[in-house]
Amino acid sequence: MTNNAPLLELREISYSYPGQNSPLLQNVNFKTDNEQIGVIGPNGSGKTTLFQIIMGLLQADDGKILLHGNTLETDKDFFRLRCTLGFLFQDSNDQLFSPTVLEDVAFGPLNHGATPREAREISILTLEKLGLKGFEERITHRLSGGEKKLVALATILSMTPKMLLLDEPSNNLDPTTRDRLITILREQELPHIIISHDLDFLASTCTRLFTMHNGQLLPCEEKELHSHEHVHPYGHKPHQHGT
């Protein structure tokens, strides 16, 4: 292991679902360290699939995933990866499964060996940081869509990940919650990869843009994100567009 190995690296990742005649992902190469990356691409181009492969939920047909320069092979390696990367699902309904918010946020820390007391403390702190104070005993399946999204984010942040993978996080959020999410992401200062169709959202949370095209993850021209930011005097701050 070298010290300057990137946090996450994909080498020649290929994947196709059973029954697909052309591969969905074809020799994806990608490297990221301390960056905030946005990924755009048409529906069905394999963005979510790529995230699932990174997290070890799907196994690539070919290629390697490296964490800090170490190739991931065993379940144990992926367990380590899952402590390091936090994955926010597209649909928060799939992510929340405990009866109460507090139990859900504490689930990760408890699995990682925290005592119930420590887990409770870190969960309350995380909720507080996301402006969700007082939500502890709320019933998860009765939250609003935006609240669910923020609680789902809390369940991941309570595991203190080193990097976030967010799958279309701003979908179906009202403008207020969307702005709140932008503020939170900027304050976290964690490296992240965000899949989104919402270019404004990406412009205010990311520094580099990739596009999913023909099974490959390709860097966009630097200009694209910048040109967007230049049009906006507040490009570097959370802002909202007239719709």
Partner: protein, 255 residues
């Protein structure tokens, strides 16, 4: 909606350790279930009714639950007396069997007693707490998972079904007695199952991503207190009392 309305409250019953309540409910309902003596069923029903009152359930909801269970016993009251045979009595224009009536009575008392006992002791804990309680009592993890996840999956299935049903309604679907209606409903059920399955799979993925390794660790680890032990002793004593009653009544009837 699938809720746990009885689990909200602050009576001593709600505060008891779920382990203790599980053990108590098992003891009492076991005695009630295996006994065939009217005395045991009657006294048992009274005792459990007192327990139920002490747990202060919402009267409206309680009535509804009791009503649902007794639809079943009502059927027994209709069928058993008319079909059981043996000694009969005259009642209006019918000749109901005495043994049939006795049996219907016994079953009604037993099932209501067990129902009361479960509402007082089991329904006053949340399903999650019961699941953890079961694990702590040494019930295999698989069984308590089955309880916890069936419970959660029920919500999922219900929500998926409602979503699909709404989609159908919004497109002008009105149920009629027609082939179209039956086909639509069969598609609705089929899709509900498929979607719930997919969702269950994603929930499992979410759990694995958060370090789940086959063991649920409860956040609120309830420790049994002295009061819990006294409570358990009292309940076990009551069960024993009921069990003894059955010997008394047997020795009375047997020649």
């Amino acid at each position: 909606m699938l809720e746990e309305p009885f689990s909200i409250g602050s009576t001593p019953f709600h505060k008891r350790d779920p382990k203790v309540k599980l053990l108590s409910a098992t003891a009492i309902s076991l005695v009630l279930a295996v006994s065939s003596s009217m005395l045991v069923a009657g006294v048992g029903c009274i005792i459990t009714a007192v327990l139920l009152l002490l747990s202060k359930p919402d009267p409206g909801l309680l009535f509804k639950r009791i009503f649902h269970v007794n639809i079943f016993t009502l059927f027994l009251w209709i069928t058993l007396p008319l079909t059981y045979g043996g000694e009969t009595i005259h009642f209006l224009f019918l000749n109901p069997s005495l043994d049939g009536i006795r049996l219907a009575m016994l079953i009604s008392l037993k099932s209501n007693g067990i129902l009361f006992c479960f509402i007082a002791l089991i329904a006053t804990s949340s399903t999650a707490a019961l699941g953890h309680g079961m694990t702590q009592l040494g019930v295999p993890q698989k069984l308590s998972f089955l309880l916890l996840f069936s419970y959660r999956q029920l919500f999922v299935i219900q929500q998926e079904y409602q979503r699909l049903q709404r989609a159908a309604l919004l497109r002008g679907f009105t149920p009629k007695n027609s082939l179209h209606t039956y086909r639509t409903y069969s598609h609705l059920f089929g899709m509900t199952l498929v979607k719930s399955w997919n969702r269950a799979e994603r929930v499992q993925q979410a759990m694995v991503l958060r370090g789940f390794q086959g063991k649920l660790i409860p956040l609120n680890q309830q420790k049994s207190t002295r009061v819990d032990y006294y409570f358990l002793l009292t309940m076990l004593f009551l069960s024993l009392l009921l069990a003894t009653l059955s010997f008394i009544s047997i020795s009375q009837y047997s020649p």
